[in-house]
């Protein structure tokens, strides 16, 4: 492929939205209340919409007839480049909004930078997504505050979720080879530069939510290289079921 770095770079961005979208979509009909159920599935829909734009573009770059569906559904686990954070299961609602919050703060900062990309398609997609994601961030940070500064039980659950998920946050700021190549060309975002502001913003909100900011020195990584947690296989089995059971099906 002529433009392999760009292709991989786009997948790196889009896979986060795809896998998180799948997780949020799992709550369809299973949310803790009607309103939160609708909210989670709306967020899922936004993310899938964004994924379509990215994958359509990636398909064009690949130039071998690969469609957005092929890219979404027909890769093997090791070929997905999403961060470990987004594949974490929905465990309970505190985990769901905690995961969303920890990703949204990053996602919003990332998209604001991607708007400046010299690649006009990527900057157009970012322009579109940034509006949607700022709304997601409002929703998730609102819930972290509500649960953190809520009852003793909700506080404990929210704290547990943040403590558990914290170990996956550092990976957001790791650079892959494709990342480095794209930053050098002015197309990609230098994620290492987003790290300081990220932890500052997240910590401020956690304090507002009367939660403790975890003090952790050891972080998990691997997703960006395709080395995923044990949850990923189950997630993909669900996501890819139709294409695996009925190859090339369309509707």
């Amino acid at each position: 492929m002529k433009n392999e770095n760009l292709y991989n770079y786009i997948l790196g961005i889009a896979d986060n939205s795809l896998i998180l979208g799948q997780r949020m979509g799992e709550l369809c009909g299973h949310g803790p209340s009607l309103e939160t159920d609708i909210a989670c599935t709306n967020i899922s829909l936004d993310l899938f919409g964004q994924v379509r734009s990215y994958f359509q573009y990636a398909g064009k770059i690949a130039g071998d007839g690969r469609t957005e569906d092929d890219i979404a559904m027909l890769r093997k686990e090791r070929e997905y480049k999403n961060v470990l954070l987004v594949e974490h299961p929905n465990t309970d609602f505190a985990y769901t909004v905690g995961r969303q919050f920890l990703f949204d703060v990053y996602h919003l900062a990332f998209l604001k930078e991607l708007q400046k990309s010299t690649d006009l398609t990527l900057s157009a997609i970012a322009n579109k997504c940034v509006k949607e994601v700022s709304y997601h961030e409002r929703f998730s940070s609102d819930w972290v505050k509500r649960l953190g500064d809520g009852t003793s039980e909700s506080k404990e659950k929210m704290q547990n979720a943040i403590d558990d998920l914290w170990t996956y946050t550092d990976e957001l700021f790791h650079q892959t080879e494709a990342d480095k190549a794209m930053v050098a060309e002015g197309i990609g975002v230098d994620v290492t530069k987003l790290k300081e502001a990220y932890y500052k913003n997240v910590s401020e909100l956690l304090e507002e939510a009367t939660l403790k900011v975890p003090d952790l020195k050891y972080f998990q990584k691997g997703g960006k290289q395709g080395i995923h947690t044990e949850h990923m296989g189950y997630l993909l089995a669900d996501l890819q079921y139709m294409q695996r059971a009925y190859p090339n099906m369309e509707w």
Partner: protein, 181 residues
Amino acid sequence: MNQNVTLSLSKSLNNMTTTEQNIDTILLPILEKVSDPEIPVLSIMDMGVVRSAVIIDNVVKVEITPTYSGCPAMDVIGDDIKKALKEAGYNAEVDLILHPAWTTDWITPRGRKALENYGIAAPLDAEADKDVLLNGKRIVKCPQCKSTNTKLVSQFGSTACKAQFQCDDCQEPFDYFKCLK
């Protein structure tokens, strides 16, 4: 030759955006009859999703832009446009464009009125929208009884573009079209 006109529907809304549409006048009455599948009282022109429609070599080239990335209505809108143009004797190609990104400022005054009549509160400006959705301010007007004694029930409503509200005077629940800028 068909004459193209440049409409600037958004300019009537306090110059909020300078983005202009490029719609062939001949096609306008056809496109105005195509309605938004999620909000049937609203034409896609009033919604501001059609960014250009021009005739090139007997084929109508239409560009539409999604309200939200995941809006499931876009495919249907594309098909409806082709169908309407076909009935008027044109072959059409519909492209989805992402730039410039759609904003609620592109909903026309007529579109805002149609929303209200349909029972959906039209979007406020960005600041007021924030006050409503984040700070619980009571300023969204109930489309049923016009009271502003209304509260947010859910930040997300029946579709991605709406939030769920309830009026504390007439007790009716209603959708509020979120401001997107």
